[in-house]
């Protein structure tokens, strides 16, 4: 089928204004911050409603072109998952679907479209006394829905009851263009009818004997295009008290955070090395380095909170119980009150990031992240630190109520320096492989990792995933080539 035919059919759906093949526009979608090979899409299209999305997917099935959905309105893309793999790719840019459809205080849930960003949603929720569970200082322009679909780790592990949280129900077009609603949103009845009977699409499981939201999540847009989702909310605390413990020894902090999480004593909870904490607090590179040098190597941050009339009582009980743990374990660490202050930390915990913190030091970074168990964290850190001796940020995030850990290594570098870039590229790939060989579980296998990740996994997984892909996207029109799905 000719390109002209595709274009003409797309114009019928979108009009010419919401389609672009301007080289400057296409160029933006041809690469990202990763080392994934560059390739331009044929067109970028901006749907305004779900009918257009459905028609586009059906058209892709009949005219044999590929679709890559993207949602964030601006800002850097990262992991190579939205770069075209073939010469017949169209970018489906969902950023103009930006309705906050419903904020439901009573049921602690929000329904949003894919284009809604953290920068837009957080203030709206604050007005209603609510908060969304966020990744660590998310970019303001980042799509909230995409972060949830990509299983980005959240900073409050005790609220992560399932590794899928905070994602609840979704409305999705599968690869054959069929509309589906996952979880309790499936029905019986339309969303309007469900609302009338008191429902709020807060149960992600189902419908009945399968949970398709789990196969949409983590699929990098290759199973379905989500048009709205409901996400879990928490009530905004009226008091937040920040703790910042420092140590030269990460084991000591890991041990302490384990106790805090086991007994659900705090909200936000994670460990950063000095450089990453400095990147989160300061913007200017020289200030980042100054702060880095004044901090101990490892920093455990946690927040206790309370709300309303009994907020102080709650804080008092939590503080008392935490102090008991410190005494019982004879920990020699204490709360840092010098190098950082509470406001600095609360700023990056409570607000979206206008100046992406991972880009502040050198203007570029590569991140290596995976899931680990508790015991392997130190070993895997040593593995990376042996190969990268400077400008290495480290972030350890307990997830899923402490049953595993997101480990993230940020290699900061100047992307305009070709020599440095080549060196980082070589190290990025080598270290990633070393980590895979040492038991790091790359459960979100983006771009250049995918092939190596699946090679190190049981063949039955790959086989099963391919079968699933065939069921929900029989003609392989959605983001072909990602994960273990052949182009």
């Amino acid at each position: 089928m000719s390109e002209t035919k595709i274009y003409l059919e797309l114009v019928k759906i979108y009009g010419s204004k919401n389609i672009s093949n301007d080289p400057n526009v296409l160029e933006k979608y041809s690469e990202d911050l990763s080392f994934f090979p560059k390739k331009e899409p044929k067109y970028v299209i901006w749907p305004r409603n779900r009918n257009q999305i459905q028609k586009t997917i059906k058209l892709a099935n009949s005219l044999n072109f590929s679709i890559i959905p993207v949602s964030s309105s601006s800002g850097p893309r990262h992991h190579g998952d939205t770069i075209p793999r073939n010469n017949k790719t169209i970018i489906l840019n969902l950023s103009k679907l930006k309705k906050i459809i419903n904020i439901d205080r009573k049921n602690r849930v929000v329904m949003i479209e894919p284009g809604v960003s953290f920068g837009e949603l957080i203030p709206q929720l604050y007005k209603r006394g609510l908060k969304i569970l966020t990744p660590l200082h998310p970019r303001a322009s980042k799509s909230v829905l995409t972060a949830a679909l990509e299983r980005e780790p959240i900073t409050i592990p005790r609220y992560m009851w399932d590794s899928s949280d905070p994602l609840l129900c979704t409305e999705v077009f599968f690869g054959n263009g069929e509309l589906f609603r996952t979880g309790a949103a499936a029905g019986p009845g339309s969303i309007k009818q469900q609302k009338k009977s008191g429902q709020a699409q807060v149960n992600p499981m189902g419908p009945t004997q399968f949970s398709p939201f789990r196969i949409i999540q983590g699929a990098q847009g290759s199973i379905g295009v989500v048009t709205w989702a409901t996400l879990k909310l928490e009530i905004l605390p009226s008091i937040q008290k920040v703790y910042h413990f420092q140590s030269k020894n990460i084991e000591e902090l890991l041990d302490f955070q384990y106790e805090l999480l086991k007994y659900r004593l705090c909200d936000e909870l994670f460990i950063l090395n000095n450089l990453n904490l400095a990147c989160l607090i300061r913007e200017d590179p020289s200030e980042i380095l100054t702060l880095t040098n004044s901090l101990a190597k490892w920093n455990l941050i946690f927040v206790i909170s309370g709300r309303d009339k009994l907020a102080s009582d709650k804080i008092a009980y939590l503080e008392g119980d935490i102090l008991d743990i410190i005494k019982e374990k004879k920990l020699k660490i204490s709360n840092n009150k010098t190098e950082t202050n509470e406001i600095d930390i609360l700023n990056f915990l409570n607000q979206a990031d206008i100046n992406p913190w991972r880009l502040r030091l050198n203007g570029g970074y590569q991140d290596i992240f995976f899931i680990s168990n508790y015991e392997k964290i130190s070993e895997l850190i040593t593995l990376v630190e042996k190969q990268i001796t400077k400008n290495l940020g480290i972030y350890i995030q307990p997830i899923n109520q402490g049953t595993s850990y997101h480990c993230e290594f940020n290699i900061y570098y100047n992307p305009n320096n070709k020599e440095e870039t080549l060196d980082v590229k070589e190290k990025f790939l080598r270290i990633s492989i070393d980590l895979m060989n040492s038991g790091a579980f790359f459960n979100r296998p983006y771009g250049l990792w995918a092939k190596d990740v699946y090679e190190r996994h049981e063949d039955s997984t790959q086989k099963a995933l391919k079968k699933v892909k065939k069921i929900f996207d029989p003609n392989n029109v959605l983001n072909p080539g990602v994960l273990c799905f052949d182009d």
Binding site: Q401, S404, E458
Partner: protein, 522 residues
């Protein structure tokens, strides 16, 4: 239908002599299960408590044996039905061309990972066993409402999963980490981090990429309609109070030393609107170990061990909208804070705790709460019960469903088909500190009386229709082809997708689809 001698021998070679039986006695015994009579009648069959008689019963002892048996079943086109601890009709074959796997030889706790807060178990480990072992680490498990005698693996992978402690331990489906799963074609699949070729471990169940937990189960499991689960890692939770557990006396009237920091509240909220407000209020404070709405009759039942002992609890039964809350704590400070919150809420909502004033339960109640052993009380009135309904979403829809069910239930009470709970018999619990709720309507009937069984089945059918027509969420027991085809068209045509999964992953239709979905034209 017996197995042909040569085929029997092939199976026997896998599991060893004495671990397979196709004799009349054993196969007939395995054809019985609780509530089978209702499901038979709902399927247009005679209301007897027996399923089709299996061709044989086989007892594998390892994943390798399971795999070999499944492959052999594919070769001879014999269907499989899996029983872990085997409670209920979902464990029964839907055809007589079926072998039952009794998983009792796979009964090991593979590991308790204290630092990563999970346990790995085989199918025949019971909740009670696992809980006792986890208590040594100051940890506990999510126990399904069915009770501590059932298999947590079955609940996590294959069945439903609400529990009395769901406010703080969630739902079985959401507590699953890595899984070992023998697919219907005999391939062994290892979900998540357990699938790593080197350094495999059980700490994570999703990926790489999409999570295959999504086809493994939903709100309900596939009830052995999609292979055999041989091991699962399930999340562990902090034990709610001191792990000292001192029980004395003889069954059923045990005595128990109530832990220091454990307090029961039973409050009449007066009406459903207020009940909703109070429940949401309690759950937003994240303080409850248990937070359940039970009808007055059901509250009487959870404190009773016999029909006679029900009778002295009439004042409890008169409550209009009772809420049962238990708070627990590990420290005096925590306990004081939680009590203060409860005092604040009681004052705010102008309700009273009747415990210690109107009624004081026997200490064994607290042991049963810690053990999640309250479900058994549903049996005391008539010897048999089953739940209808099963919606899970907001408190509001659960209460609407409860309310709309009362006149329907009363209709069958009038006919004397089901026991008289005034039509109100309901259990509703919060999950994850009130992020969602579920309700079901336990209904007591007489399994030995055909008219009662038929009445119960008719009531369940009507209850399902009510949920469908009034958009009250999908009930628990939308399972089996007939029900999927009834509900699917009103629910995003999900049955079409579910069937595709079945056809793709079970090309020979080996896994009994009686409680799942059949392939096209079968």
């Amino acid at each position: 239908m017996f197995l042909e001698k040569e085929i029997f021998k092939e199976f026997e070679d896998i599991v060893g002599v004495g671990n397979i039986d196709d004799g009349v006695v054993i196969t007939n015994v395995y054809a019985y299960n609780w509530c089978m009579e209702i499901f038979n009648y709902m399927d247009g069959k005679e209301p007897i408590p027996f399923s089709p008689i299996p061709k044989a019963v086989i007892l594998p002892s390892s994943t390798e044996e399971v795999q070999k048996i499944v492959k052999l079943c594919n070769k001879y086109r014999i269907q499989i039905k899996i029983q872990s601890t085997g409670l209920g009709p979902w464990n029964q074959p839907s055809t007589d061309n079926c072998i039952i796997f009794d998983m009792r030889r796979m009964n090991k706790i593979i590991k308790i990972d204290e630092k990563n807060l999970y346990a790995v178990i085989e199918p025949y480990v019971s909740g009670a066993q696992l809980q006792v072992e986890t208590m040594k680490y100051d940890l506990t498990i999510h126990m399904p409402g069915a009770g501590p005698m059932v298999s947590p693996l079955a609940s996590a992978t294959s069945m439903n999963g609400p529990g009395f402690t769901s406010p703080c331990t969630g739902h079985s489906a959401r507590n699953v980490l890595a899984v070992e799963w023998v697919l219907p074609d005999g391939e062994v699949m290892k979900l998540g981090s357990y699938g790593l070729k080197n350094n495999s471990d059980w700490f994570h169940g999703d990926g790489p990429g999409p999570s295959l937990r999504g086809i493994m189960r939903g709100w309900a499991g596939t009830k052995s309609g999609l292979g055999v689960f041989t091991k699962v890692a399930v999340k562990l939770f902090p034990y709610p109070c001191s792990t000292d557990f001192n029980v004395k006396g003889n069954s059923p009237n045990y005595d128990f030393d109530i832990p220091d920091f454990m307090k029961l509240y039973v409050m009449d909220c007066g009406n459903f609107k207020k009940l909703e407000d109070v429940m949401l209020g309690v759950e937003e404070e994240e303080i409850s170990f248990m937070c359940s709405y039970l009808s007055g009759f059901a509250v009487m039942a959870i404190f009773s061990n016999s029909i006679e002992s029900l009778m002295d609890k009439i004042p409890i039964g008169q409550m209009k909208a009772p809420l049962v809350v238990i708070i627990t704590a590990r420290t005096k400070r925590e306990f004081a804070y939680k009590q203060k919150v409860m005092d604040f809420l009681l004052n705010n909502f102008k309700i009273e705790n009747i415990i210690g004033k109107i009624y004081t339960p026997k200490p064994i109640f607290y042991a049963e709460a810690l053990r999640s052993n309250l479900g058994l009380h549903g049996f005391i009135a008539t010897g048999g019960f089953q739940s209808s309904k099963g919606v899970a979403d907001t408190a509001a829809v659960c209460l609407r469903s409860t309310k709309s069910n009362i006149p329907l239930k009363q209709e069958f009470i009038k006919k004397e088909a089901i026991a008289n709970d005034f039509g109100e018999g309901t259990w509703m619990t919060s999950y994850e500190s009130g992020h969602y709720f579920h309700m079901e309507s336990p209904t007591m009937f007489d399994q030995t009386e055909e008219s009662s069984v038929k009445g119960m089945a008719e009531y369940m059918e009507k209850s399902n229709q009510l949920d469908l027509l009034k958009h009250l969420g999908a009930p628990f027991f939308v399972e089996g082809t007939r029900m999927h085809e009834l509900f699917g068209p009103y629910m995003s045509n999900y049955h079409i997708w579910l069937r595709k999964i079945k056809e793709t992953f079970d090309p020979n239709n080996i896994s009994d689809s009686g409680f799942y979905i059949s392939p096209q034209n079968k």
